[in-house]
């Protein structure tokens, strides 16, 4: 009975009961607006106060959080905000009905909690998956309550309204899927195909991206627009290189040539040390971690690892350089040249010109041969007529 009453609460009521001030809530909403200035219906053209008003009216979304082959880093990044009460506030925005590492229960009690959470909110809850799922040998490499993880996922997912794959592992396999991938680990969207899925890759991902997706779903009732890899566009539409604080060094050709060298200490571009920023779509360069400025790899002097990009992180060796010009834009020159280049020869057009002139020449040759074969002239006849 108490549980029913709790569920019908709106977010605003819940926060009030938990003792949060309106100021705290608006601060959080401000961060959300900064995280997703565009791409979310929730924050599009809205002030933080408007966002807070809309979010406050919504019912707390029920969230079931499953762990598979993971390190719990994604949960950790959610909890390790710079102030403990911020994490608490985030947890209070949602109804986190099941989370293996955050709940007291264990053993049968935990199993029962999962079952009841799924049954009671069937078709309504958001399933957050953390970690990759092993598929080899019918998934025997990871057992949960006596069942293979893959079955647990399928069972739970069949009753979920939407699925959020949290972290690179859940998105496409992450670390466990790195070569040679002994357990045939893979992401959620390779197993569940009949549910809306949003991937939030990252190792770990930015917790505010999760918050944006969940609140968008709770308030607007829909998932945000995603790219071809199912990543929400508001956070993954640009490559790190586009807004990198070291970008000016890249454009000017100033590169760090080793760790701890003078060029590295001067904060030069890390591209030559293997930075994957030019090919990695993520908002890291503008949304740093733990609410601390410069708290992200490149900010700390480490090259981007490419964790949010399938086929880059965990695949391309750490210190290998990527082809920056093939993937991303670098201005050809800062200034236009006096005489820029115009015109191009298309293969199809060249072929057509060749074909047309070839056909014309061939036909003309054939025609002239045919005329020649008649051996006809106008000479004698013209003379005859002249003589007439």
């Amino acid at each position: 009975m108490a549980k029913d009453a709790f569920e019908k609460e709106t977010i605003a009521q819940s926060l009030k009961n938990a003792g949060y001030s309106r100021r705290d809530f608006i601060q959080l909403c401000t961060t959300l607006v900064a995280t997703a200035p565009m791409g979310l219906a929730l924050t599009e053209n809205a002030t933080p106060a408007e966002v807070a008003k809309n979010v406050g009216k919504a019912k707390k979304p029920s969230v079931v959080w499953l762990h598979f082959q993971d390190c719990t880093g994604c949960s950790e990044s959610l909890l390790r905000t710079s102030k403990p009460d911020v994490a608490d506030l985030i947890i209070n925005l949602i109804s986190l009905d099941y989370h293996e590492t955050l709940m007291v229960a264990c053993g049968d009690q935990a199993e029962a909690a999962l079952k009841s959470a799924v049954e009671e909110n069937a078709g309504k809850f958001v399933l957050v998956v953390e970690g990759s799922i092993p598929r080899k040998d019918k998934g025997v490499y990871m057992m949960l309550g006596g069942k293979p993880a893959i079955d647990v996922l399928k069972e739970t997912a069949s009753k979920a309204a939407a699925i959020i794959a949290m972290g690179s592992c859940a998105s496409w396999g992450g670390v466990p899927s790195a070569d040679p991938n002994p357990t045939d680990a893979t992401g959620v969207d390779q197993i569940i195909t009949d549910k809306p899925i949003v991937n939030i890759p990252g190792c770990p991902p930015n917790p505010y991206t999760l918050l944006g997706v969940v609140l968008e779903y709770a308030v607007m009732g829909k998932l945000p627009a995603c790219d071809s890899l199912k990543r929400p566009k508001f956070s993954f539409d640009r490559v790190i290189h586009d807004h990198c604080p070291r970008r000016a060094h890249f454009d000017a050709g100033r590169f760090a040539d080793g760790y701890g060298t003078p060029s590295h200490r001067q904060g030069y571009c890390l591209f030559k040390l293997g930075c994957k920023g030019p090919v990695t779509h993520a908002g890291c360069s503008t949304r740093h971690f733990n609410e601390i400025p410069d708290c992200w790899p490149i900010g700390l002097g480490a090259p981007c690892f490419g964790c949010t990009e399938k086929g880059v992180g965990f695949t391309i060796p750490l210190f290998d350089r990527v082809d920056a010009h093939g993937f991303t834009a670098t201005p050809p020159d800062t200034y236009a040249p006096i005489s820029s280049t115009f015109g191009k020869v298309g293969a199809g057009a060249a072929l057509l010109v060749g074909l047309a002139s070839g056909a014309l020449a061939g036909a003309s040759w054939a025609a002239s041969q045919k005329l020649a074969s008649s051996e006809e002239t106008i000479a004698d006849e013209a003379k005859t007529s002249g003589g007439k």
Binding site: F342, G343, G348, L351, S368, K370, E376, A379
Partner: protein, 417 residues
């Protein structure tokens, strides 16, 4: 030995041949692309035009080159009617038909090429004209020529067709014919002065191009040389049409008329070349014909093709039909290259700029050529266009009367005067 006495349709040949359908297929593709061009604009996928090379194939080839090839109506016409060269009357209809098709497809191409064709209506309001613009001259004279004198000149074969095939409309067609006969000299006067004006203005267009047109081509006399080239291109085109008709439909050639066509072509090319060289020498630029690499080669290619062909035509060898065909063809190619040079081949817009058409642009260009060819193929089979003898006409009449009972193609007594 054949004497051309009148025009005779190509008979006993189906109109809907395999070639006809092939052309239709090309035209269908081209028209779809044209529709796309109207919606999407002259984007990179459609045309290879760029800001420095603002004029592409459609204007420079379909209009500026092919109307040169279609200048027979005016070049042969002047010789026949103004200079009273009676031998040429027999090929007038071929010349007029090729002109008509070249001009109308050229005008369509112009309409497709320009970006804002809906504003073209100003052309009917003379007080809105900018009289200094050579392009205005072309727009006015070319559309006027194509829609009035050239159109009227091409009507007589159609009147005849109506008279023979549709007895109901015969009296109207006959009235039209007699009215036409009364005003004919005024029409043909217009039909010669207008092309003279706009064919030269096509050259004047590029005078404004200034130093971007290579000095071997850029001259204040460009208009005159341009119209001169159009004249022999018209003769080339008529001759080639007749020789191809011989190949395709076994039409006999009249040696006297062919010799006359050759002779006029030869003298036009000789005088054109002489005038061109004179112009270059007087301007003091003759050294550029040897020092400017690509441009020098282009210049000599043009000269060799035209002058060489003309020379061959003037010799005994040139009287052989196959040689004649080759010579007229190469001469036409040379002349066409000349007409193409100031706008494209010898036009250096900018240091790093060049022009190469896009595939779609080429297909549309070929489409409108195909439309002209298609029109020609249908017209010569339905109308009395290609020259033949009275004997040919009798044979044709016999054939037609056998399949269309009641048609009267012979036995017309002259009307009383």
């Amino acid at each position: 030995m054949t004497r051309w006495e009148r025009s005779v349709p190509v008979y006993g040949v189906p109109v809907l041949t395999r070639g006809f359908w092939a052309l239709c297929a090309l035209i269908a593709v081209g028209l779809v692309l044209t529709g796309y061009r109207e919606v999407a604009g002259l984007t990179a996928g459609i045309s290879g035009m760029t800001d420095p090379f603002a004029w592409g194939l459609w204007k420079t080839f379909n209009v500026m080159v092919l109307t040169g090839l279609g200048s027979g109506g005016f070049a042969v016409g002047i010789a026949a009617w103004v200079f009273n060269n009676k031998k040429l009357h027999s090929v007038m209809r071929v010349a007029l038909l090729t002109s008509c098709l070249a001009y109308w497809t050229g005008l369509c191409m112009l309409g497709i090429d320009v970006g804002r064709p809906w504003n073209f209506y100003w052309v009917v309001l003379p007080w809105q004209w900018n009289l200094h613009s050579p392009l205005l001259e072309i727009a006015v004279c070319m559309s006027l020529y194509a829609s009035v004198p050239l159109f009227l000149e091409n009507l007589p074969p159609i009147f005849e067709y109506i008279i023979y095939e549709f007895p109901k409309w015969r009296s109207i067609a006959e009235t039209c014919e007699s009215v036409m006969a009364k005003v004919y000299p005024f029409i043909i006067g217009l039909a010669y002065i207008l092309p003279m004006m706009h064919q030269s203005s096509l050259g004047a267009l590029m005078v404004l191009g200034g130093k971007r047109v290579h000095t071997l081509w850029q001259t204040p006399c460009l208009p005159l040389i341009y119209v001169w080239a159009a004249a022999y291109l018209g003769y080339n085109c008529v001759t080639l049409c007749i020789l191809l008709a011989k190949l395709a439909w076994k039409r006999d050639v009249d040696p006297v008329v062919m010799a006359e066509l050759n002779k006029l072509t030869v003298w036009l090319v000789y005088s054109w070349t002489a005038f061109r060289f004179l112009d270059i020498i007087v301007r003091g630029k003759f050294l550029h014909a040897f020092t400017d690499g690509y441009f020098s080669i282009l210049f000599w290619v043009e000269t060799a093709l035209t002058l060489g062909s003309a020379y061959v035509l003037s010799t005994e060898k040139g009287k052989k039909l196959s040689t004649m065909f080759n010579a007229h063809l190469l001469c036409a190619v040379g002349g066409m290259i000349y007409r193409f040079s100031p706008t494209t081949l010898a036009f250096s817009a900018k240091e790093n700029a060049f022009y190469f058409p896009a595939a779609a642009e080429l297909i549309v260009c070929l489409t409108f050529i195909a439309i002209a060819v298609l029109g020609y193929l249908v017209a010569v089979k339905k109308l009395a266009i290609l020259p033949g003898s009275n004997e040919d006409w009798m044979k044709m009449a016999k054939y037609e009367e056998s399949i269309k009972p009641g048609i009267q193609l012979t036995g017309y007594a002259p009307a009383d005067h």
